[in-house]
Symmetry: C2
Amino acid sequence: MSLVLDPAAQDLLFREARTANAFTDEPVTDEQVQAIYDLVKYGPTAFNQSPLRITLVRSPEARERLVQHMSEGNQPKTAAAPLVAILSADIEFHDELPYLLPHFPQAKDLFFAERPSREGPAVLNAALQAAYFIVGVRAAGLAAGPMTGYDAAGIQKEFLDDDHLPLMVVNIGRPAEDAWFPRGPRLEFDQVVTTV
Amino acid sequence: MSLVLDPAAQDLLFREARTANAFTDEPVTDEQVQAIYDLVKYGPTAFNQSPLRITLVRSPEARERLVQHMSEGNQPKTAAAPLVAILSADIEFHDELPYLLPHFPQAKDLFFAERPSREGPAVLNAALQAAYFIVGVRAAGLAAGPMTGYDAAGIQKEFLDDDHLPLMVVNIGRPAEDAWFPRGPRLEFDQVVTTV
């Protein structure tokens, strides 16, 4: 075996973990979200820029507003999930760089002074962190249901601001029975990997 | 403890894993890369679109060409790493959708017929897969050194084509002694997570 990670962890995070479309009623606590964050915050980003922001939609009123912006197929599961999180990329991440990158604080002005120079890195690195977050949800024994089928401008206007771009909405909870479709095929190694 | 993942796996993947800047001479084999891929290919993407492509730079001649396109600070470590991979997003991922999404093959034409409608999803979902790949490298007991400091257009022209956007270059190997700087600070939970 070429992997060091033990098989139970492989199953928990990748092989048996699945995108859930239905959940039990068991709540997802703030303590669980804190534990997930305290694990996945260590995942690497360029210049440690850490642009991911997370909006937990907990109040029934906010949930209702969010559901209105989801695509029709995503509305029922977003309405029913124990917890829903909006993941966004903070375009103003550079404000935190002097703290995040203490040995190179001039990176803030050298590379990220202009907004267009921040948009691409913010989305790329927040997407990396979104993937770490999905892995973290699974590490907590929960299932994630990430979705991009929504009115992004509507979600941004309703829950975020001009400086935060929505990346995805994630349903979180303990999967119900029949929570997923059969797993889709994956590309073969040779379709993905080339050697030069 | 709110996490189910065992502490050794938490350490291997997140808490003790670090971005490496120096590696031992031990080679990274094709079998290891295959094992990494066979684990992380299960990470979720929207519509199972799986747009990540991986170019392993193995020949000395190709390595030399790649190093020329890296930023000055990244050149020595890219020249010395046991294995270097170029991760890219395939804008033509929709060609595989009828295979990847057999229960909804019309997604290809319904959502992704026009190239501009594919670029954002390709980058976002390939970035998720790049993060899974970094986690997978760690699951193999290796260290990753992801870098975005390079001439992207040069790398695209030299190693890819118009349909593949470079996302990052990743050095891979067993970390040498003193392979990393002290870990940078992370944002506190309350700086990242808000509740509505």
